[in-house]
């Protein structure tokens, strides 16, 4: 690697934080998982695309435009007919497949960011929590090193025997920071905008009886103690998960705790499994080179046993 002239003294700390090198396969794992979850989201939005995005649908474009802050930025300002909307979704699906395969990945990532900005601007009333996760990560994937590892062209050329490169970790650091914001802001919001249900521990009881609940019923009333405990435990978990994930020694505990929290939400709630997948995707940014090595090694052993 060519020697770069020494950087200024005051840039030393950020340089250490952002430009230390990481295994490019971690980026590849995030890229592939991100594209897969975003593609699933697109597929499930497909039947309702006209309801959410067209001028004859549920959300009024003029109101959205007038309330845009600071400006209305959306490809749906141009693509307004049903056919144009369908075309936009098809192009996005193609871009997501390309991103997953690592073909023209930078261009594909750019389009995927445009798509996310556009549908958030056009249909703000229909955006969910997992849309927001995908939206923030679409930008971070775009500014991250693309690399060649775990791309379809590289796999075809080298047959999986490619040596992964070391690339700067700025994208991963920003992704990790984003995960911290997701959890900690959610907890802080309950203090800044006090919500009695979180404060008195009744949130989970109400959540289990709400629209989101998979099995609402009188049984909820009988488990007051457990559900109060779960309410407080969930908040402690939200504080702890980013810290555990970020510390190298405890990252697997963080992943386990996060998996338990989000799998729990997915099991006890209906129709929130995309949120589970989106959050699990974000955890991949906390992987280390040795984790990827271990997984690759296990996969190899698994395949060699199969043969």
């Amino acid at each position: 690697m060519p020697r770069i002239p020494p950087i200024s003294q005051w840039l030393r700390l950020p340089a250490q934080l952002f430009l230390m090198r990481e295994d490019e396969r971690i980026y590849a794992a995030v890229r592939i998982a991100f594209a897969a979850v975003a593609l699933l989201n697109l597929i499930f939005m497909w039947p309702d695309r006209h309801a959410f995005l067209s001028d004859s649908g549920m959300i009024d474009r003029d109101v959205v435009t007038s309330r845009a802050d600071p400006v209305y930025l959306s490809i749906f300002a141009l693509a307004r007919s049903d056919a144009a909307i369908t075309c936009c979704l098809l192009v996005t699906a193609l871009a997501l497949v390309m991103l997953m395969a690592g073909i023209g990945a930078r261009l594909a990532a750019f389009w995927v960011l445009v798509w996310h900005i556009s549908y958030h601007a056009r249909a703000p009333l229909a955006t969910t929590g997992w849309d927001m996760v995908l939206r923030s990560f679409s930008f971070l994937v775009l500014v991250s090193p693309v690399g060649k590892c775990w791309t379809l062209p590289a796999l075809m050329r080298a047959g999986g025997k490619m040596i992964p490169a070391l690339v700067p970790r700025h994208g991963l650091v920003l992704m990790r920071l984003q995960v911290v914001v997701i959890y900690w802001q959610a907890v802080l919001a309950r203090f800044v905008n006090p919500d009695p249900y979180w404060g008195n521990g009744e949130f989970m009881s109400y959540f289990m009886l709400s629209h989101h609940a998979r099995w609402p019923g009188r049984w909820v009333l009988e488990y007051e103690g457990i559900l109060t405990f779960t309410t407080y435990t969930a908040q402690i978990a939200e504080v702890a998960i980013p810290v555990l994930l970020w510390v190298k020694k405890t990252r697997w505990w963080g992943m386990l705790l996060g998996l338990a929290l989000h799998a729990g939400i997915s099991v006890f709630a209906r129709d929130l499994w995309l949120f589970f997948l989106a959050m699990m995707m974000t955890y991949l940014a906390f992987l280390r080179a040795e984790d990827v090595d271990a997984v690759a090694h296990r996969m190899q052993r698994l395949f060699s046993r199969g043969k």
């Binding site: 020697r3 950087i7 840039l11 009024d60 900005i117 929590g129 905008n193 709400s210």
Partner: protein, 189 residues
């Protein structure tokens, strides 16, 4: 990692691109750290045009709730009832375009949309526009006589306060609201 390694870590050929990358990373990191502090209710932006523009283009709306906090609403059903002129009412779905029925079981995205559109006070302009559009579409579909002779009816079930539910076992209370283009604020039937 020592200084030499930090310098080695620079992936870019040249000082300027490396510094630009660092400046961007620091800026985005600071933006994210500031975003940890949640916005207060009614505060819709961070105040400055560059920050809002950056949020819109790059970071997205950093408003995280983790659990969509609408714990009191148990179920929602929305339909459009049209007066048939003989004292009866016909029903069509509430989902535009095409007056498709509101999905059952409810899908999260539809539920969130309907909740924000109909029951949240933050989007009265959207509700008004929706009602106006329904009026136009119905008129195009069934003739101008239908204008004003229909209403959007919302059936909702709310979870009762748990102390009362524990006393008598009843979990939910049922409520119906209807909206017309003339009364977009909603009226009890």
């Amino acid at each position: 990692m020592n200084d030499e390694n930090a310098a080695d870590a620079l992936p870019l050929k040249g000082r300027v691109p490396a510094v630009l990358l660092l400046v961007f990373c620091c800026w985005h990191a600071v933006f994210l750290v500031i975003s940890i502090v949640p916005q207060r209710p009614g505060q819709e932006d961070r105040g400055t045009l560059p920050m809002n523009l950056y949020g819109q283009l790059a970071a997205g709306n950093q408003g995280w709730k983790m659990f969509e906090t609408i714990p009191l609403l148990h179920s929602l059903d929305a339909r459009i009832e049209i007066e048939d002129g003989a004292g009866g009412r016909k029903t069509v779905g509430s989902v535009l375009p095409g007056f498709a029925p509101y999905p059952k079981p409810e899908l999260s995205r539809h539920y969130i949309l309907l909740h924000r559109l109909l029951l949240s006070s933050s989007s009265p302009s959207q509700l008004e526009a929706y009602l106006r559009r329904v009026d136009d579409h119905l008129s195009a579909l069934r003739g101008p006589a239908v204008r004003g002779h229909w209403s959007l009816v919302i059936d909702a079930e709310y979870t009762r306060t748990l102390i009362y539910s524990r006393r008598d076992g009843e979990l939910y209370v049922f409520a119906t609201r209807s909206f017309t283009p003339a009364k977009p604020g909603g009226v009890a039937p």
